[in-house]
Amino acid sequence: MPTLVGVFDRPGDVAETVTRLKGRGFTKLEVYSPAPFEEIDDAVDPKPSKVRIFTLVGGLLGVVAGYAMTIWMSLDWPIVIGGKPFASIPPYTVIAFEVTILFGGIFTLLGLLAVGGLPSIKLGAGYSARFSAEEFGLVVEVPERDVAEVDGLLRAHSAKEVSLVAS
């Protein structure tokens, strides 16, 4: 299928165009944007990012790992220190807390990589360096017969340029 790239200046226009295109049934679309804009991101996909699940799982794993490590190691070779119980929760909470943050942080990074599709060797077909300047690119795959219509729709929403990239 041919791929059309529309270039925009304002995030609001992009978001509106995305909504219109999706309404017309063109859902194979991608927006390249130089900075995050909620209106665009929500127009493309209103669901919250799945990164949050990664953080939650990492944090929970961390707190369990922190307590399990300290308690198991203290019981593995029991030595009385300061007359405290071997598995002494208050001091181990400090360690468990730090491990929670550590695992949570690492898992959040993994979440970004997994959800964002990183690392990827090839850049998208419609990507161009101007989309890391100050312009927005709306890339949409359309069937041959709808090219003209979508082209018109993009221009009608103040796309300053529309081009066709090899399909």
Binding site: W77, Y92, G104, L118
Partner: protein
């Protein structure tokens, strides 16, 4: 606008003409793409000299032993631990600016957060050096980690020093992740605009970032969650460092106020260091329109606030020493002010508790040279704060058998100078390798303002 006829579609297949780049990209890229100037080369040469001196001293100390560091009974925590705490404190500003101000939606932070985050990482690296230097037998430093060994012995998790190990290593890793995640979109910008080894480097580090809506959404979430994790982390790290002292019974250390007192002091010293470094950077690279006086003024307000907290803690320490009626505490605090370390104490009190109050005056907190001087004084004052706490505490414990005197030795001064060189080298390399201003965050504001039609002020904040 009417749709073009279908025949014209073929005519649309044409290469896109080269377009003017974003001014923000150009301004920031210029900083690290320009060939290093004479000043940069001289500075890094000087720092390499300092680092060589410090490294040579450390090697000699490994050979000769900690005796050359002025460690002797009863004071076995000296300038190395002082400088360790100093650098950990410096590290706190970066996380505060990037995480806590992010959660508070303080948009002004985004002109300084990158450099502050970089400073966080470099300061933590520098601080960790001192743990190795302080333990003396560096080849046994791994004993602090819970690793399986032949005797099946584990480390003592009830010791604050172990908490510190976990706190500092978590802090290092999470700060690195935070720094890197923020850097990814900017690395993609650099990848699209460079050639040769730089393109290869930025291309590899950018991981194929394209700024798709899915990626941005994930990125926003990631930054939010990392901020949420880093905020309690940064408060915990210096609390744990303070417990290294507060958990001991040493007079002058054994205080419940230590955690908030240390955290406030860390933020205070960190902000001062950020300003000390960023004032010359802004001037040399001409970034006045991105990093404005408004940012500096806000940072000075923070300094004022944290100085008040630190000053209050100084007062409360003295009050409690008197009010508790404990002889050892009273003596310890009397000797701080009028004993052999009185110079250090008065430097600490005046530089941290009195001088920053000049920032009550708008004239002074908007006058850049004044800010620079005051921040330098704060840096000095905060080093002495840790010196006073550690040394005066250890030099007069409960019984005359453990009374002593400590003066930093030349070896220690050499290594401290080396640590400043190490930190500066890392920062100088960072300046020439990575964008010192978070480009995409600044651009977000620029585009936003343009879309809503007050274009002119866009780059100011």
């Amino acid at each position: 606008m009417t749709p073009p006829p279908p025949e014209s579609v073929a005519a649309m297949i044409r290469p896109t003409p080269a377009l003017p780049d974003s001014p923000t990209n150009r301004d920031v890229m210029r900083v690290f793409m320009e060939r290093p100037g004479l000043g940069w080369l001289l500075l890094i040469g000087l720092c390499l000299g300092g680092l060589a001196g410090g490294a040579a001293t450390w090697i000699y100390q490994i050979y000769a032993g900690l005796g050359i560091a002025g460690y002797s009974h009863p004071i076995f925590w000296g300038a190395y631990i002082v400088t360790f705490v100093f650098w950990v404190g410096i590290a706190h500003a970066g996380t505060l600016i990037s995480a806590i101000l992010f959660l508070f939606r303080a948009k002004w932070r985004n002109a300084i957060n990158r450099s502050a985050e970089a400073m966080t990482i470099f300061a933590v690296f520098t601080a960790q050096l001192f743990l190795g230097i302080h333990v003396g037998r560096i080849w046994k430093a791994y004993f602090i980690l819970p690793y399986p060994n032949q005797r099946a012995l584990w480390v003592n998790f009830k010791s604050p020093l172990l908490w510190d190990t976990f706190a500092i290593s978590t802090y290092t890793l999470v700060s690195l992740i935070f720094f890197y995640v923020g850097l990814i979109p900017d690395l993609a910008i650099a990848r699209d605009r460079t050639t040769g080894w730089r393109k290869a480097l930025y291309g590899a580090l950018a991981l194929g970032w394209q700024g798709t809506s899915r990626q941005w959404k994930a990125h926003n979430r990631t930054v939010l969650h990392l901020s949420g994790l880093a905020t309690p982390l940064v408060l915990s790290v210096h609390s744990v460092v303070s417990w290294d002292f507060a958990m001991a019974l040493v007079p002058g250390w054994h205080a419940t106020i230590f955690a908030p007192y240390f955290v406030a002091g860390a933020i205070f010293s960190g902000f001062a260091m950020v300003l000390t470094v960023m004032i010359p950077v802004r001037r040399i690279f001409g970034l006045e329109h991105i990093l404005t006086d408004y940012h500096f003024e806000n940072m000075c307000r923070f300094l004022l606030l944290t100085s008040c907290i630190v000053g209050y803690a100084y007062g409360i320490e003295y009050f409690i020493a008197w009010y508790s009626g404990v002889e050892a505490e009273k003596t310890s605090f009397y000797l701080r002010a009028f004993g052999p370390y009185w110079i250090s104490t008065w430097i600490m009190l005046i530089f941290n508790g009195v001088v920053p109050h000049l920032f009550w005056f708008k004239k002074l907190r908007t006058h850049v040279p004044t800010i620079f001087v005051i921040c330098t004084l704060i840096n000095i004052g905060m080093w002495f704060e840790r010196y006073v706490i550690i040394i005066t505490g250890l030099s007069r414990e409960f019984n005359p058998a453990v009374w002593g005197h400590y003066t930093p030795q030349p070896a220690e001064l050499m290594i401290i100078a080396g640590s400043f060189s190490f930190f500066s080298i890392l920062f100088l390399i960072f300046l020439k390798l990575f964008p010192v201003i978070p480009i995409s965050e600044v651009k977000e504001l620029v585009i936003h303002e343009r879309a809503h039609g007050h274009g002119q002020h866009a780059e100011a904040h």
